[in-house]
Structures are given as structure tokens and as C-alpha cells.
Symmetry: C2
């Protein structure tokens, strides 16, 4: 037996999403088949509308509503304009915002350096970052790229680029996650947590 | 900072899908934001089209292209028309088809009996099944509902309904999955595999 072509197409498109394998795609397709027409239409519309109505902020490259002059952070007069936090993805902005510990501005790289995959500074928003730092009067840059090999390399690269200027450059702290048992921490994290210990 | 409303809507709709939590929904939303417009549109169209162009087969309730008279199995003249395999979901039909062991027809219940959740015979396609068995000249019914509590109860219920007639009723075999280590089988499965042993 062959599935109807519309179902095959749906399973194929769902299977393209990250983290969704062929089995999950099939399960989702049948789930949608069994949902009321209105719910399914709402999902399809949300996908189409999001793509059509979202854009990258021309200043910091965070996500923003298309047609606006800049994103919600860049246009917020309350933010400290002398501090810039560099992250890999828009989702990282939200994660830091949720912590409530940061009042400055952001710069979203949209990735990390990965020479093996052909991703150099020009494939990221690094030229725009250097331009901002040269013109915006930034006093501190916090490098909040992830602690993967690529994220570390990106932080090191940026630190070297900025090292000669008058901007203070810092890296987010390494250490134990809160609420974690020492026993379950990997040795690299634990080693960093000890070597970066702070006086109380 | 607040996310643009189109992004919030997309995360909310994706989060409604089964097996996709808030974090996965956010990750998928950002993934879609970063994909080319054509790819995103293709996904949205596939979802909309599938819902609009799929329907339940009026005979066996398997999935079929809307507007056709019956599904690909029911309309296939090659199939054995005296055997009927009863399954819970359209996905189960595909799973059995892939095994290549079955040449008969199907009947999709679209669920299993679950009195606690208000699902009785009339909420499933059981009345239509009994009607088919009364008119189609079926010689054998294979009960291939799942081996969950609800699936078992459904099989038992159907076996009782059909017990008095002249139709042979069987249940798919319980036992060890192929390629499995005895050591890792749960005790219920292993118990069934021993009590249902077959002479070689």
C-alpha cells in the first residue's frame, strides 16, 4: 500500500526539522490528520506569518518584527548602552533576559566560527560588531558565546581582535551549574570551577 | 525584552504538537526563522494541503486522498477479501504493510476502548466494523490492537462480540521481539513467550 501523496509530502517536510526523525514525522503527520481543521490551519498560518513578519534587527541582528527600525532591546531607552553582550543565537538573548541579570545591549553573531565548515568572521555578523564597537562608544564587551569548541574559539578570536582597544572584554563565567551535584559534574567543568574559584 | 508577536504565536502553536515541549518549540521556531522562505512556505503548505486533501476511507477508515471512493488497500483487487485485520491507527496499517506478511484488508478503529476517558464502542469505528463483518463475507478477523491495557481490552471486547458467529477470530502473537536479548525482556513478555511456545 502507498500513502496518499499529501501525507507523504507532509511526513517529508516534518522530517526536515531538526530533532524530528522519520518516526516522529509520521506520528506528527497522523496527529495533524486527526486534529480539527482550524487547529491545523492555525499552525500552518503561524509558520507562514512568522517567516513573513520577522526580520533581523539591523543593529544587533536579534529577531524583530519586520518593518520596525530596530529590535525591542535596541529601541529600549532604559538599557545601559555602554555594555554589549555577544551571543550566538537569538534564543540566547531570551535566555539571558530571563536571568534578569543583564541590562545592556546585545549582538547576535548567528553562529560561531567553524573553519572546517567554511564559517569565518565574514559569514557571521562579526564585521558589523567591529563597526559597532568603533562607533557606539561601548565600554565593555561580554563574550557569551557557548562553551563548545566553536563557541570558545569564537570568544578567543573576538578577544584577540578587541585586545588592543580600550574596551574591557570579559567572558561569561565557567563553573558548576546551580543545583548540581558535584558528583555529576564532568571533570573539565569541575576543573574550571576550582581554578576559577572566588574569595568569599 | 518581549519577543515579536509572530514569534510568540509560532512557539505556542509548535508547542501544542505531541512530544514537543516549550524548549523544543522555541528551538524549532528559531530554526524556521533562519531557513530560506521557500522551505518554510513548503512546510506550511504541506500542513495545510495534507489536512485539506486527506480523508478517512469510508470502508476501513484508513487514511486516503479526499474525493476517492476508498483507500489504496480497499480498492486493490489483489488483496484477500476474506481476512480483516483490526488496528487502532492508520500508522499501524503502514507498519503491518511494511512487514510484507499480510495480504488481507484492514479496519482502523481510530483509538482503543477507554471507559475512563469516555471512549466506548460508539466513539470508535466498532459499529461500522460489525456492519462490515455482517455483510462482507469475512472469514477471519485478526485483532491487531496494541498490547497496552486499552488495546488488550479492545481485543477482548471484539472477541466477545464476534465469538458467537462463524468468523475465525485471532489475536496477533505475543512473544519476544526479534533481535532481542532474553535478559532485557520484561517478565510479562517473557512469561507470554514461554506459555505461548510453539513446537518446532
Amino acid at each position: 500500500m502507498r500513502y496518499p501523496s499529501a501525507l507523504v509530502a507532509l511526513i517529508r517536510e516534518l522530517g526536515r526539522l531538526p530533532g524530528i526523525g522519520p518516526k516522529s514525522a509520521q506520528r506528527l503527520a497522523f496527529y495533524l490528520f486527526n486534529q480539527p481543521e482550524d487547529d491545523v490551519r492555525r499552525l500552518a498560518d503561524a509558520i507562514r506569518d512568522a517567516k513573513a513578519s520577522l526580520d533581523r534587527c539591523p543593529v544587533c541582528f536579534n529577531v524583530m518584527t519586520r518593518g520596525e527600525s530596530a529590535c525591542a532591546v535596541c529601541t529600549d531607552a532604559q538599557r545601559e548602552r555602554g555594555v554589549l553582550c555577544v551571543v550566538e543565537q537569538p534564543a540566547d538573548v531570551l535566555a539571558i533576559e530571563r536571568s534578569g541579570e543583564y541590562q545592556g545591549l546585545y549582538h547576535v553573531l548567528h553562529g560561531a566560527l567553524s573553519p572546517m565548515n567554511g564559517i569565518g568572521p565574514d559569514q557571521l555578523t562579526i564585521p558589523a560588531l567591529l563597526e559597532r564597537l568603533a562607533t557606539e562608544g561601548t565600554q565593555e564587551v561580554i563574550l557569551a558565546t557557548s562553551t563548545t569548541v566553536e563557541g570558545e574559539a569564537t570568544a578567543m578570536y573576538l578577544a584577540r581582535q578587541l585586545g588592543e582597544g580600550e574596551i574591557a572584554v570579559s567572558r561569561i563565567a565557567y563553573g558548576l551549574p546551580m543545583g548540581g551535584d558535584l558528583e555529576y559534574a564532568d571533570e573539565v567543568t569541575l576543573g574550571r570551577a576550582i581554578s576559577h574559584r572566588r574569595p568569599l
